[in-house]
Amino acid sequence: MKQYLNVVTAYTIMIILIILVGIFQSWSVALSILNYCLISAVMTMGANMQWGYAGLINFGIMGYTALGGLAVVLVSVAPVPQAWKVGGVNMMVCMAIIIGIVFSVRYTLKKIQKSKKRNYIIAGIIIIGFILLRLISGPAIESIEAVEPAKTGFLGGLGMPVLFSWIVGAFFAGGLAYIIGKIALGLRADYLAIATLLIAEIIVSIIKHEDWLARGVKNVIGLKRPVPYEIDLQAAPWFINLVEKFNSGKLKLINSVSERQDVLNQLVIDASSVYVKLCMAGLFLTVVVTLLIITQKALYSPWGRKMRAIRDNEEAASAMGKNVVKEHLLIFILGSAVVGIAGAMMVTNDGLFTPGSYRPMRYTFVIWVMVIVGGTGNNFGAILGGFVVWFLWVEAGPMALFLINFFTGHLPETNALKIHLIESASYFRFLMIGIGLLVIMRYRPQGILPEKIVKN
């Protein structure tokens, strides 16, 4: 038990902090922080599988998150029949052409020996395929985007339950990781970081600008939810009764009937948003716990030992007959798939898909700070990192504001420096995260909860 003491302490402190937010700010805010913490925890678990287990740097987390989000749109939104009618066939042909390109390139790579001729053939296939794609898709895209551009203007999805999209998101991200892994995994660590970052940018720019796919920067709003809507709850008698029972003591103090009804209404409105967030938190917690059990089992299995051996000494592991390339590719795909789930969870939580918001700062670098701060190679550490850093990221603004007011209290309200500082309070989050990362890297390079090697 003693070896888990620091884990238990760290998590207790974290939960107390979130409860404090609930008491001092509001329960709704505390629960949204908790939800985002859980989503971040899934992302960091994915990144931790790649970096902590295998030592692979993946700066493309943004791309997988975006693909996971795209999966939600493609799975859960109802199809747009009009758009399918005007452009569906052409888009299907384009799909076939892309698959054709991939397979013919693979065929040439296999059948023809490495030479200049092979390169020319591959370049030729890609260029011809590209021209064909442009010719066929061009008019189709135009007509699809012309279908009620203010509301739809895209093909729509499959109209399936939204929870299904979490799995699809994992498959999307895993598929992308397979392609990127095939291209880039042979590169040295820092090249790999840059290459994955740039490829993720390509993915996001495609999602942003291909309006027929998911409306691009016009965003998709009003996505389905796996949990009830606030409006329905506020009208449901069982829910109102529940709220009444919970607050019966408070309500009894009020004498006038109409006043009591007003207070009850307000309570129901507040409680409905809390209830929805609680349901979400329950779903997310299930995912986190399931993943934690699986990853923990994997880490201490023979496979996990093999991964650590590869991470710590690639040459020795490959001399022992371990297939380093294959294992790297596998862990790259698995980690990315987990990030894909997180991306889908996030879009489900928000209820909207905004491709413009995918930026490397928020979706790659902050996640990496979480992994490093929490503890590389330790799943509990990764989850804790997600919690701590997200909590700081959200609460840094209010904290900075408090500190600024505290230190400039003696200055008059019109002091230019004070006004300037208060206006830029929200940027102190970057400062806090940056300094936190630097301090951890310097004085505790293993993270808050370092990796534990269990020897049996």
Partner: protein, 336 residues
């Protein structure tokens, strides 16, 4: 006549903008490559360091303008550059002393240094936003154009006008000056040679009595000059916005890797490869072909390979292709 028109059209819309943008990228790419070659890590704070230098220049420009100091037809920012460079170098040396030097002495793996530079990136971004805010700022003054489209049309009698903005001319001239001084320094002087020696083989360089502290300091000094000049030139040409500078880091990395990371001359050319690639692939050639081809063959479509939305994606695709076929970059040639 049509042929000349077509040439002028290309010059105006692709070649001159690409040369300008390429120069700005090239300066950043040499900065990345120098840090990689001598200090051996990928510096993710590149864009924000450039932004820091530019921020100082912007603030100084505003200060000079309030004093009434100006350079006539030239932008006041040119006057601010030397001071901004000094501030930039001081900032870089402070960061190096408190952050990077610890890992360098410990001989940490490059990956760890790269992660540390992410921390520096966050801190620099915070400092910039706290000081100047995230807003768009224009600090260009003086003459805006060297050659206006109408003047050119009157001069030559062509249908197409040629515009040369003063910022474009300044960018190209300043880049040529800075880069040639830097290459002269690296290749002809004794200190430059010692830097190259250190980058090629650290142990051997230390054995032959090269002072590592001096080499590291010199690297940051050169990097400071490149970062500030590159950043200010970009800001003059477009406008100064902290977020854009962070984004510019990506094509700059692409340029440095395309040119063969650790190779300054490669990085210099890589900047132009990326810039020309971006602009040539996303330009709509319809008008160009209208001039060249007989009327019966005139194209209906825009004749654009990719829409301009994919500008950044093009440079990253160039990078991916280069990584696939020549992981060490196009120009292996000279090593720093």
């Amino acid at each position: 006549m049509d042929f000349l028109n077509a040439i002028v059209l290309l010059l105006n819309y692709t070649i001159i903008p690409a040369l300008t943008y390429g120069s700005q990228l090239a300066l950043g790419a040499i900065f990345v490559t120098l840090i990689y070659g001598v200090l051996r890590f990928a510096n993710f704070a590149t864009g924000d360091m450039m932004s820091f230098g530019t921020m100082v220049a912007v603030l100084l420009t505003f200060y000079f303008q309030s004093l009434g100091v100006n350079l006539g037809a030239l932008p006041t920012a040119l006057l601010a550059i030397p001071f901004a460079i000094i501030m930039m170098i001081l900032y870089m040396l402070t960061i190096d002393k408190f952050v990077f030097s610890y890992y360098r002495i410990k001989k940490s793996p490059p990956v760890q240094l790269a992660m540390v530079s992410v921390g520096v990136m966050f801190v620099t971004q915070a400092i910039i936003r706290i000081i100047i805010g995230p807003f768009d700022r224009r600090f260009l003054d003086g003459e805006k154009f060297i050659l206006k489209a109408n003047e050119f049309k009157e001069m030559t009698g062509l249908n197409e006008g040629l515009t040369i903005k003063s910022t474009q001319a300044i960018t190209i001239v300043v880049t040529i000056i800075v880069v040639s001084i830097m290459f002269w320094f690296l290749n002809k002087t004794k200190t430059g040679t010692s830097m190259r020696a250190y980058s090629n083989n650290e142990d051997l360089a230390l054995l032959s009595g090269i002072d590592p502290k001096k080499v590291v300091m010199l690297t940051w000094v050169i990097a400071g000059v490149l970062a500030t000049v590159g950043g200010v030139l970009y800001g003059l040409d477009k406008s100064y916005k902290p977020f854009v500078y962070f984004n510019n880091m990506l094509p700059i990395f692409a340029a440095a890797i395309v040119g063969g990371i650790g190779n300054p001359f490669g990085a210099f050319l890589g900047g132009y490869v990326v810039a020309f690639g971006e602009i040539f692939i996303t330009y709509a050639y319809k008008k160009f072909f209208t001039y060249l081809l007989p009327e019966s063959l005139e194209p209906d479509s825009l004749m654009q390979l990719l829409s301009t939305d994919y500008k950044f994606a093009v440079s990253f695709s160039i990078l991916v292709i280069v990584l696939l076929f020549r992981p060490s970059g196009i120009f292996k040639g000279m090593k720093l």
